[in-house]
Amino acid sequence: MSVQTQTPQQRERATTIFEKSVPGRRAWVAPADDGDRTPIAELIPSRLLRTEPARLPEVSEPEINRHYNRLSKRNFDLDTGLYPLGSCTMKHNPKLHERVAALPGHARLHPAQDPRRAQGALQLMWELQGALAEVSGLPHVSLQPSAGSHGELAGVLLTRAYHEDRGEHRTKVLAPETSHGTNPATVTMGGYDTVKVAVDADGNVDLDDLRAKATEDVACLMLTNPSTLGLFEPNIEEISRIVHGIGATLYYDGANLNAIMGRSRPGDMGFDIVHFNLHKSFTQPHGGGGPGSGPIAVSDRIEPYLPRPQVVRRPSDNGHAPSFDLEFDRPKSIGRLRGFQGNFGVFVRSYAYILSLGGDGLQEASETAVLNANYLQARLKELCGTHLPVAYDRLCMHEFVLSGAPMKRELGLRTTDLAKRLLDHGYHPPTVYFPLVVEEALMIEPTETETKETLDAFAETVAEILREATEDPEIARNAPYSTPVRRLDEAAAAKRPVIRQSW
């Protein structure tokens, strides 16, 4: 019996908006004009004008709406289920934040509005700066960078400015081999060479290797703490001494800040520069790959070089409330990293988050994130420890890394197979194949907003997939089955790239 067992919607053939275009259809209706019909060519010389229209689709509004609505259903999302993507802090995104960001006083505020007429926005930014300074233990904050890696770039540029201001010319930046790809990529963009520092058998920075590489031409060490293995660097104080000993800066990649808020502060550890990923620790919705925001906090000695403009508070001279301003006159500043003041809409959301949680709440968020990670680690160890051992078997912070090496060896299942099979069970898979030091890595970050029941169910599902594979590994090897498309041919896509519609 050849019954159709898939909803057409689920397995419908992808059709682009261009393929729905029919000449003459439209959604947009022009607002009333003053009847001016002057030919455009009388206002702009013809040779500067388009001769052929940009081929945009011609579709009615109901059909545009359906098109993107249906497309949305071809995405998995955090509001549907667990999304334990390591290093990404996929915590719940409160709906309140969308509401406050959409207030016309925020959403329709022009970025070039005179600061005297944008006092609410500047106060919000100033207060957010203060909160980030308190959480990081570093007193000076710039909200400008657009995302984490933009913050990293700011950090490298600040390091350069700092050293150049002292007449020093350095050429290298250190980063552990577990570091995130943005770290070395940033180093290159910043005009330095990356020097990889080894990690030891416990997953910690190898102090001997660090000492060996900590030469006078080193400008900076970039570190994530907890590391991308989810482990707190136990020797951070010593690391700080080594780095500062050679006059280099210590840079904190804040992607993992969600582990330690209110428990420990990068500034107190000796870091000079920190970036925050507001879209991670401070819950900006990830938007399918942004927007994010990557503010930086720095120590006193780095402060003079901060990007400009800087949001400042000015005491009033006449007993009125203080006022807020954008300070441009910063002679040692590295300058702007982008237009205007940064991703303000993200600031609103993160500020709302901080207001909602308060200091205690942030601390409890981190504590629960660490509790959840350790619990899930323990459950997976219990249920799947043979095939999926914890890579560095000790208490973790907010995330942990499993190795799929035994699973691969014994069941013939690669980490990617496990990941794809998880899709059939309604889970987003963890981060896979990162960090590089762990074979067949599976990096799991449940976040604090998940329940114990969800973690239990996830662990049991992983166990169930392993059980299934002992019987028939082909099932997972060919997974997924229940997604809008099945495994995609990435090699073909890269070989002969089709990256736009030809129509």
């Binding site: 500067l48 388009r50 940009a54 995104n93 657009s146 540029l157 938007g287 702007r336 329940t451 114990k452």
Partner: protein
């Protein structure tokens, strides 16, 4: 229990037991003693949803938004009408809450949007390849500079002074470690000085940057540059206002190598400057040097059409220090807004809206320049923004207009000291002919009052 978490006391006990510890403190044992924060964070206590909402509403009320005044402010971001359709689509949690589509099987929605977006940007710019968005306009220009630096191996940049001041500054900031220099070509009559440009070109030039239209609103004659820039072996990098590309000949048609720009005008709200998106399109041969995500079409195991992130060997998570860029989290949601918006305008609407702007801007320019004490700063054709000079102190004129609920635009003096009396005036479809009349009346009166030496109202 803090907000948004679920662990009850009973949960916590059970979980600690399963972990094999007796307290949450033990979980933090790896943090060295001396680094433990032994006091609560010095932040206000948490508040209820209604209180947070109330506080933020109060702050928002202390801003003068384009809803609160008649604003003609532009200068890179514009108060276009954002249709409800855009809000509705981007508000869907399936677009709002996932991350980068690392698992394409459950990310076809986002990936296809990127593919559609790339097609639209390619159509707008007249260039064959587009990535899936970068942060925003000025940093997109800097990213194009990085590409040019690496691609040409040359060490000098030449930028028209008509390029947005933020973009020129961002390029300067970002290139600090590239061992490049940056020369500026002045404007004459509101457009890039061709003579000076030619003089600035040379064999060491990696790229020439020009804005279309430029910061003073003037349309640049790209044809006039292109050949010289090419001849010098440099890349021609155009920073375009996408909203003008419904009427203007696309940069690709003139042989531009790269076209970047600020995507905000395309269905993104102002948001006090961000988040928006930057677009980045280029000639085919630069494809493998592009920064950022790129979605490509392929097929699945059953031959079904699908989309994936492609050419990932350019990217930091694969190539690390050899990546073409460090960008990771970008602006996917904002690019989606742009995609829905362009679908909504459609082929005809995009052109018609451009034409509406041209006509209304011409009318506004005429109306203002007819005022006593107001003159055009240049006579170049414009699309949606123009510069005037005031025979009165600009700051004081502005204050007078603000008091009337009108914001006539941006003073130029800060970024263009050569125009101490300059004012940049932008038009969108939200400013009606009647609004323009009101602008003329209020601005005219303010200039007149200043010239007659009247007191500024409190």
């Amino acid at each position: 229990m803090s907000r948004y978490t679920a662990a009850t006391d009973a949960d916590r006990e059970a979980m600690l037991e399963a972990i094999g510890v007796t307290s949450v403190d033990e979980l933090f044992a790896s943090v060295p003693e001396g680094l433990r924060l032994r006091r609560p964070l010095d932040l206000p206590a948490g508040r209820s949803e209604q209180e947070v909402h109330g506080h933020l509403r109060d702050l928002a009320a202390r801003n003068v938004s384009t809803e609160d005044e008649l604003s003609f402010t532009g200068g890179g971001m514009y108060d276009h009408y954002v249709p409800a359709l855009v809000d509705s689509i981007v508000g869907r949690s399936e677009f709002l809450t996932p991350y980068t589509p690392y698992q394409p099987e459950v990310s076809q929605g986002g990936l296809q949007v990127m593919f559609e977006y790339q097609t639209m940007i390619s159509e707008l710019t007249g260039l064959p390849v587009s990535n899936a968005s970068v942060y925003e306009g000025p940093s997109a220009l800097a990213a194009a500079g990085y590409l040019a630096r690496v691609h040409t191996g040359r060490s000098r940049f030449v930028a028209s002074r008509g390029v947005h001041p933020h973009a020129r500054e961002t390029l300067a900031t970002t290139s600090a470690g590239w061992q490049t220099t940056l020369d500026e070509v002045p404007l004459v009559d509101g457009v890039t000085d061709l003579e000076a440009l030619r003089a600035a070109l040379g064999e060491d030039v990696a790229a020439m940057f020009v804005a279309q239209p430029n910061y003073l609103g003037a349309i640049e004659d790209l044809e006039a540059f292109a050949a010289d820039v090419k001849a010098a072996g440099a890349l021609l990098i155009v920073a375009a206002d996408p909203m003008t590309l419904g009427v203007l000949r696309p940069p690709g048609d003139f042989g531009a190598d790269i076209c970047v720009g600020e995507g905000q005008p395309l269905g993104n709200r102002l948001d006090y400057g961000g988040p928006s998106f930057g677009f980045f399109a280029a000639q085919q041969e630069l494809l493998r040097r592009m920064p950022g995500r790129i979605a490509g079409e392929t097929v699945d195991a059953d031959g079904r059409r699908g989309f994936v992130l492609t050419l990932q060997t350019r990217e930091q998570h694969i190539r690390r220090e050899k990546a073409t860029s460090n960008i990771c989290t970008a602006q996917a949601l904002n690019a989606l807004m742009g995609t829905v918006y362009l679908s909504w305008l459609g082929q005809e609407g995009f052109r018609e809206l451009g034409e509406l702007l041209v006509r209304r801007t011409a009318h506004a320019r005429q109306a203002l320049c007819a005022l006593d004490g107001v003159r055009a700063l240049h006579d170049q054709p414009v699309v949606r923004e123009f510069a005037v000079g005031l025979d009165a102190p600009v700051e004081r004129v502005l204050e007078r207009c603000w008091a009337e609920g009108v914001n006539p635009g941006l003073p130029l003096a800060g970024d263009y000291p050569e125009h101490p009396d300059g004012l940049l005036v932008a038009i969108t479809e939200q400013r009606t002919a009647a609004d323009v009349e009101r602008l003329a009346a209020v601005l005219g009166a303010a200039v007149a009052a200043e010239r007659s030496g009247a007191e500024v109202p409190a």
